[in-house]
Assembly symmetry: C2
Homo-oligomer: 339 residues x 2
């Protein structure tokens, strides 16, 4: 193997011109039967694989889309990525998954990488509320879909969930269960999703003689949840329930509660957010607000494929908003549920 075989080698081996080989690959119906077979045999025999960079250079369009998620360590985003990958494959596209880890600098780096690669488009879960990533994309003219965040105005498509409504669902459920002192693990986080969930909770509690106590966190992972849980245990009077901005925090808090000998939900009720698989699998299954992660990823990829595919000129930006759904499990219900 002295370097991969090119289309020229195939042409020579099959005794035809390069144009014909290209036709066999891209428009086989325009090529005579015998020639087609000969070319196919040559391709097979030489192990020829089309060089995508040359194709892209000439045709001007790439076959991969970039997906930049906030945190690959969160199964919610993994599900989202899986959905996107699935839809992309159905559209003949590949996905390049990258992890911004909520760092603006990393986000910018990866967007630059995507720009150099001339990706077909980008699915972005923005790392800040201001939308600097989206602004950069718009400036460079790369089509993009905002994921897990509503696009302001009509600048782009977006796929999101009603986080305010989700927060209200969670807080409303705790309220109905009799709780009046409720902690919110997430505090005044700079992520808009967290702020919206908090706002929804406040709305649900307004005028109901109940109070929401902010627990600041310095991350949205299990360790931060443990830490927040430890702080919650020190509060007095202690909240009787906690609403966590995501399930990772909730799992950490659950662990902190167990470590301190508290019973869940009797001594502390816990509601998470996302309904990741591990929420149901926890020893005390977590009540959580479900987001349709896979559907979100799938929808986003489909919209991008539509926008950047043939006929994309007629594309109108759309905002798809999914409704969250409360899934009640043991962590908030003293009386065991059926099943």
């Amino acid at each position: 193997m002295g370097g991969a075989a090119s289309i020229k080698d195939v042409a020579r081996a099959a005794g035809v011109s390069v144009g014909t080989v290209s036709n066999v690959i891209n428009r086989p119906e325009t090529v005579g039967e015998g020639t087609r077979a000969r070319v196919r045999a040559a391709i097979e025999q030489l192990g020829y694989v089309r060089d995508e960079s040359a194709r892209q250079l000439r045709s001007g369009s790439s076959r991969i889309i970039g997906l930049l998620v906030l945190d690959l360590g969160n199964p919610f985003f993994v599900s989202l990525a899986r959905g996107a990958e699935q839809a992309a494959r159905a559209a003949g596209l590949g996905v390049m998954v990258c992890n911004s880890a909520q760092q603006l600098a990393d986000e910018a780096d990866y967007l630059a990488l995507f720009a150099e690669q001339r990706v077909r488009g980008v699915l972005l879960t923005p790392a800040d509320a201001e939308g600097s990533g989206a602004a950069a994309l718009r400036r460079s003219g790369v089509p993009f879909v905002l994921v897990d965040r509503l696009a302001a105005g009509l600048e782009a498509c977006s796929v999101s969930v009603d986080d305010v409504g989700g927060g209200a669902l969670a807080a409303g459920h705790l309220l109905e269960s009799g709780h009046r002192r409720i902690a919110f693990a997430g505090g005044r986080h700079r992520l808009q999703q967290v702020a919206d969930r908090r706002r929804g909770a406040l709305q649900a509690l307004a005028g109901r003689d109940a109070v929401l106590l902010d627990l600041e966190v310095d991350g949205l992972d299990v360790a931060a949840g443990r830490d927040a849980g430890a702080r919650l245990l020190g509060m007095s009077p202690r909240p009787t329930a906690a609403f966590c901005a995501n399930d990772l925090l909730a799992l950490g808090m659950l662990q902190a509660a167990f470590a301190a000998g508290l019973r869940v939900p009797e001594d502390l009720a816990i509601v998470g957010y996302d309904d990741i698989e591990f929420a149901a699998a926890a020893a005390v299954p977590l009540t959580s607000v479900r987001q349709p992660a896979e559907a979100m990823g799938r929808t986003a990829a489909e919209m991008l494929a539509e926008e950047t595919g043939p006929g994309g000129a007629a594309h109108r930006h759309r905002q798809v908003v999914f409704e969250p759904e409360l899934v009640v499990r043991r962590s908030t219900s003293v009386v065991p549920l059926p099943g």
Copy 2:
């Protein structure tokens, strides 16, 4: 923006030749100070971004590596990917993460995608024991590193963990804790990692008057663990301990045990494998066999960068084997550990 600006546009705007622009970008020290500034200004002003596909076509080498993992739903592989991404970035490379979901067909599809993209190299966690993926890579001449699997012979670099040793650690620990009837959730799985862990367990139990009972699973996730747990509960006499091929299975089994009212570890001791973050965060923290996932990913990417970088001709394939480490937690220790 009528299409992105090319190097030619920059050259025109700066009043120099394209060669000079290229030099400003790639060998700035060879260009006069004034010219350099003028070109830089033009680049800035036009928002020029180098087209990677053209660069790659001419230079022949890509700046991205492909990473194909068995299961992105398993945090172990997410950590591994994170480590790889980190090392790749340090080497100026991008990573394209894909998920074979243990399906040979998907593995082949993604490897074909990588081949078309002419990726710099591939990090592969093989989906079968026979190594058909590796064979395909060798045939197409793409450099690759086997991850989480020892490379037979000297065909390639590999980064793996001593799974036989890890299995022995887990079983040995259960043996020391007094268990004699031990279930193995994983059964005779086609994945080599699972088979090796089972073999290690058998070795540890050999001649010790203990028995290993296979529990077949049709997946390596939480749901499969729940299922295996349900079956375990029906066995009689019931095993007093279970060794699970990974932590997801263990978490599922833990949940099944709780659902049936069993106490862990008093009625059933459980050992997992991988030591993912959720293992420690479970309500009954899981004893597990730790694998250094991030270090594995990092090492693999570094080896690939070395092999495919300048001076790669002198590269000799190496097999790096990490040692697993037993992490004992509540799920196997009746007497609570300090801390």
